[in-house]
């Protein structure tokens, strides 16, 4: 039995189904992200775990205990809200102490635990400030300290980094992971940012219009997306629609008269398929030397890498190559595209493959 499990959990608002039959088993100490575009039901799922929204159907259990209809104040879970939801009329220390106060922890122990929690998020010097005197990142960390100080069995994070600017967000990602590793709390994070989900989670749950569509480790999610939506939502990709052709040793997809070889599972001849290849899996070479010829339509310098859009007979392809410190092909110049057939994924959308 998993530590936290959701069994066929659904939430309907009137006739609208926000979350449909979510089944999820989370082990103790895991860091799981719920990833999806806005309106996919990820926040509703989190709120059902927190007890702020009651499921229409299904069962939620924590450590073997059924908590489906338990009040939020009886669950003892730590929640960090998107807006941080700090109490504006209390100091940082009072905010953090609130949960302990509710648990009637004696004053001496309370003070000590608040001190530890603030040290954990590196805000010891700010105990007597009010939330309005703090920056976004600091408020964020107060919210984390407040949620963690009660030693919750599960920490729930609702888009915790979305209100921070890009640089701070990156720092906080590592910070969040560091804290989670240190205290070992089972953590569920809701996010619409795939990079965030991939970088700090043990497992990522992808949600689309109320349903879970893939649950996998970040690396596998990226390399083996189960459908076209995930492959384009998680990272960048080139999607090519074609028809499957089987022929002896060389089976592959025929797209615009070109046969692209790929080692793929059993698919019947003539089945329509979608191929996916990541921009960084494509290599640029001299025209004629690769599998496909094209012309550089535009190029963007991103510092650590170059991003190319290349016009090919199959349509525009995005290619990214690492910056080796040399000037790469100019816009308008003819280039060849090469890749390893193993990196050309057949997406199961229309195909019978698993």
């Amino acid at each position: 039995m998993a530590f936290l499990s959701l069994e066929r959990v659904s939430k309907e608002f009137g006739t609208f189904t926000a979350v449909c039959d979510v089944d999820l088993a989370i082990e103790k100490g895991e860091f799981v992200s719920l990833l999806g575009p806005s309106g996919c039901g990820k926040t509703t799922t989190l709120q059902m775990i927190a007890g702020l929204v009651e499921p229409t159907k299904g069962r939620i259990s924590l450590d073997g205990r059924d908590i489906t209809h338990e009040k939020p104040n009886r669950r003892g879970l730590g929640v960090v809200f998107q807006s941080y939801a700090l109490f504006p009329h209390m100091t940082v220390a009072q905010n953090v102490a609130f949960g302990l106060e509710m648990r009637r922890i004696p004053q001496a122990e309370r003070t000590e635990r608040v001190r530890e929690a603030l040290a954990l998020v590196q805000l010891s010097a700010f105990a007597d400030r009010y939330p309005r005197q703090l920056s976004g990142g600091q408020r964020q960390r107060v919210a984390i300290a407040r949620a963690l100080v009660i030693a919750p069995p599960v920490l729930l994070l609702d888009e915790p980094l979305s209100n921070l600017d890009a640089k701070l967000r990156e720092e906080m990602q590592f910070e969040l992971r560091r804290i989670q590793r240190k205290v070992g709390t089972t953590t569920i994070m809701v996010t619409h940012d795939q990079a965030e989900a991939l970088s700090i989670s043990d497992r990522v749950v992808v949600m689309e219009s109320g349903r879970m569509t893939q649950v996998d480790a970040p690396y596998r999610l990226y390399e083996q997306p189960s459908n076209a939506f995930i492959s384009s939502f998680v990272g960048k990709t080139n999607l090519l629609a074609g028809t499957w052709r089987r022929g002896g040793a060389s089976s592959g997809a025929e797209i615009g008269g070109v046969l692209l070889e790929t080692p793929a599972p059993e698919i019947a001849d003539g089945t329509p398929v979608t191929l996916s290849i990541r921009p960084e899996k494509i290599l640029l070479c001299d025209a004629g030397a690769g599998r496909l010829d094209g012309r550089v339509a535009s190029r963007f310098f991103l510092g650590s890498q170059w991003l190319f859009t290349v016009e090919t007979p199959l349509g525009i392809m995005t290619v990214s190559i690492p910056n080796h410190g040399e000037e790469p092909p100019a816009e308008g110049s003819p280039v060849g595209l090469d890749w390893s057939p193993a990196n050309l994924r057949v997406i199961a959308d229309n195909a019978a493959a698993a």
Binding site: A50, L52, P72, N73, S83, L86, F87, H89, R103, R132
Partner: protein
């Protein structure tokens, strides 16, 4: 800093003069040694202030008004906060009707309300007691509190309440420790407006006060219909002084900006 042009400056000065001049003049008149309403030209005198305190009617009415305003403003808060919570957070049949009902005393002329209450009290045989007077004042000041409470609630980040719940607070504790402090500016502002409106109310009170419960404005009105002398100015000056002191104290204690505009 943005500087005002000469035209804007003149405009501001005119507005301020228009607002403040009557108050300044009435305060000056209060110190006149003459027997008529006039500016003190030949020295200052406190004789009209002495006259006020020599009038037990005025002193009694003053305390009446203070108690009336305090009680009705406080009770209006007690009613308006739960009403505001219900109206802003739940949908139930008759919600819009209730909202309109609570706000309707703002629209109905106080003269009409006064006649209506007089009639009602005569019908049910309510004597002109202080309790009934308080009841009528609660009705006319509740809309002010409700408006401000509703405004405060609509600007409230509800996730703070949810956070309190997840941290182990029950519903009542959440209200007491989180919701109430967060809407306190609205409540305090509403209470102040209610207090001032009740303390000031004349039109309706003329109908519903009995000789034992005459409020200060009614007392002044009755006195002024018989004779106009500088004692009226002295009473007015005292009222202005009391209000100003109350405002100063509030500003020192809480900050008026925070109470009336909201913190942050």
């Amino acid at each position: 800093m943005h500087k005002n042009g000469p035209v804007a400056l003149i405009f501001h000065i005119l507005v301020l003069t228009f607002v403040l001049a009557p108050l300044v003049i009435i305060c000056l008149v209060a110190f006149t040694p003459e027997n008529t309403l006039s500016l003190p030209t030949a020295g200052l005198s406190l004789r009209w202030f002495e006259a006020v305190f020599a009038h037990p009617d005025f002193v009694a009415s003053f305390w009446n008004s203070i108690w009336l305003a305090t009680l009705s403003a406080t009770l209006a808060v007690v009613f308006a906060v739960p009403a505001g919570l219900a109206i802003s957070r739940y949908t139930f049949p008759g919600r819009d009707f209730l909202n309109a009902l609570f706000l309707s005393p703002l629209i109905i002329p106080h003269l009409v309300l006064g006649v209506a209450f007089l009639r009602l009290f005569a019908l049910i045989g309510a004597t002109g007691s202080f309790a009934w007077l308080v009841a009528t004042h609660i009705i006319i000041v509740t809309p002010y509190v409700l408006r401000l409470v509703l405004a405060a609630l609509s600007g409230l980040d509800r996730s703070a309440e949810q956070a309190a719940r997840t941290l182990g607070a029950g519903e009542w504790t959440t209200f007491r420790r989180v919701t109430a402090p967060m809407i306190l500016p609205g409540i305090t502002g509403g209470w102040l407006l209610a207090f001032i409106n009740s303390f000031d109310e004349l039109t309706m009170s003329i109908f519903v006060t009995s000789p034992a419960t005459v409020t200060l404005p009614v007392r002044m009105y009755m006195y002024a219909t018989e004779s106009i002398d500088p004692m009226m100015a002295a009473v007015s000056a005292l009222m202005i002084a009391i209000t100003a002191v109350a405002m100063l104290v509030l500003d020192r204690a809480f900050g008026l900006d925070r109470i009336l505009v909201g913190q942050r």
